[in-house]
Symmetry: C2
């Protein structure tokens, strides 16, 4: 604490990201990274972009990247916003749309950064409880609000909502912005991007960190009506004109364009998820049905916290949230088949 | 404008960065980029870092880069903060230190982003006029305030303050944070970094975009007492956990380490600046004494606005600010000797 800090900074409880060990000694299943490298075309594009042009500012509007994303989703460039990871995109969305007289709504168990954005931007919020089976029930989001945000699939549960309840929500909640945070949508869900033409208040957030294997490059996007995108551009241009560097732009463009690689990678992760779920079920673990690249599991025969610690001793990192009611669960990223086999074997050894 | 925008976003007048033409048809003297490429060691490091590890998040604390910067300035790692360009570093500084009950002070003619940060974060401010010869006179910064910020050298004038008046300001203004924005310090100024051990309220902002030829990579830093850096980390971790990607970290580390290249490049820019000033003086132009990689000039025999347009027709881009009292000036980045010769020749042609 310091006298020089503003009141807001004093009161913040910053987000704590998952551990990033310096050495590669761990099977790292704690931050939902993709176990597969980015497309070779991404690496090529970056190497090509690493030249004397780095002395020049990047395109502040990232036109080439926006166009590539627009082409991929068959929308217009003006429906696309890009930023320094989906965290920056979300932060700017909170300032742009959620700083309202009414509180915003989001699930009680959800991406914990939402609360933090509310503190830093002084936004009132109401956290809506999950259902008994850890689902988001959008009919509970009925009170007057300054905005609604939820991840789909939800984090850290992995549970997916279909587009029907999302569309119903959009129909009845048309006075505030609804953000669907689709960080994990490519592992089995259906994107709400197809609805942006119909609902001017729908913003879909996506990231290149998960399904496109580019957590190390920091690229996120938001897709929505032109007016929402224009609002985000205003916020961005009042905060940081050039959030995406030349290399990130070059790499992200190829990540979007290499559709075959993207589909193959997602498929592999999904298959491994299914195998892992089957193995853990056999061992009596409860597993929340997941459509993400992670699973949320309740161990059998051992407390979650203890299993987390014992796995760490065995050089396997998973994520444990020390906060009821999710302190009986572990969030486990889906790695390669080999990673998950090691994971299962170590658990068997620990429990035995 | 949209009903979905927050009041803040509606009222914003976003910063307008200098034009970034898509084709390389222009002699580009409008955004203070370095005319020389980054060190070859930077390119090598980036190419090496462009591998499968991009699937993993970068180090959220950027320890290696902080240590490299600390070593360079003979300070400690805990005195260093890094961000996505000095714009992000400044934005986070405004939230962390300037959101106070008293207004902040900055020069009336200065980096125009300061006003924009004040709007987006709702910070009151008082703009202190320059002296008749376009200088910052720090004895004018005496009123009670929630913080003080000024660029040194100032932008867009290029005028440098020595450390004496800065130290006097720090002595008498010890209840609020003083930010010295040293984006251009390496082209002939003396950095205030040597004072951070003595003044707990001094924050020095720097960028890799100018003297280190890396505008395309988006890296900035702030240097100050541990408490100030801790405040910035709190803000950063409430906004975006991983603002620097793996490639930017790798490149920036080498940019800092290659001191010989850095010194040689700065020297070349300074020499070209002197030659350019001499040539323009001969033509009767007034030039504000500059210690930056740009000059602020008042044309003779032609209006600034007209010269800006005519130069653009001749495929030379400079910066014109359509705002009294600086609308009689042009800000011209120092390019290579060849660039500046073209610039001078075109002016002669236009005036003749």
């Amino acid at each position: 604490m310091s006298n020089y800090w503003s009141q807001i900074i004093r009161e913040l409880k910053p987000y704590v990201p998952g551990e990033q060990p310096k050495e590669n000694l761990f099977v790292k299943l704690n931050t939902n990274e993709n176990p597969y490298p980015p497309s070779p075309r991404v690496i090529e594009a970056i190497v090509k972009a690493a030249d004397s042009s780095l002395r020049r500012y990047p395109d502040p509007n990232c036109e080439v990247l926006k166009q590539a994303i627009a082409d991929h989703y068959s929308i217009k460039k003006d429906n696309v916003f890009v930023g320094n990871g989906s965290d920056e995109v979300l932060a700017l969305s909170f300032i742009s749309f959620f700083k309202q007289s009414q509180p915003i709504l989001f699930p009680e168990i959800s991406y914990s950064f939402y609360e933090v954005y509310c503190s830093i931007f002084e936004i009132q919020n109401i956290r809506v409880p999950l259902t008994a089976d850890m689902g988001i029930f959008l009919e509970d989001y009925t009170q007057p609000n300054g905005g609604i945000i939820f991840p789909n699939p939800n984090a850290p549960t992995g549970k997916l909502l279909s587009l029907d309840p999302i569309e119903s929500l959009l129909e009845r909640n048309n006075e505030s912005v609804v953000i669907v945070d689709e960080a994990y949508i490519d592992f089995g869900g259906e994107s709400a991007i197809q609805l942006i033409g119909e609902y001017a208040n729908l913003l879909v957030a996506q990231t290149f960190s998960k399904s496109r294997s580019l957590a190390g490059l920091r690229v996120g996007a938001a897709l929505g009506s032109e007016k929402l995108i224009e609002g985000l551009e205003r916020a961005k241009n009042s905060f940081n004109s050039y959030p995406l560097d030349r290399l990130a732009i070059a790499g992200a463009v190829e990540a979007i364009r290499d559709k075959a690689y993207f589909r193959a990678t997602c498929k592999k992760v999904i298959k491994t998820r299914e195998r892992t779920v089957a193995a853990l079920s056999k061992m009596g673990f409860s597993i929340v049905p997941s459509m993400a690249n992670f699973i949320f599991i309740r161990p059998a025969g051992i407390q979650a916290r203890e299993l987390y610690t014992r796995l760490k001793d065995e050089k396997i990192l998973v994520r444990y949230f020390d906060k009821p009611p999710i302190d009986e669960y572990l969030r486990v990223t889906i790695g390669t088949d080999a990673d998950m086999q090691t994971f299962i074997e170590k658990i068997k050894k620990i429990i035995a």
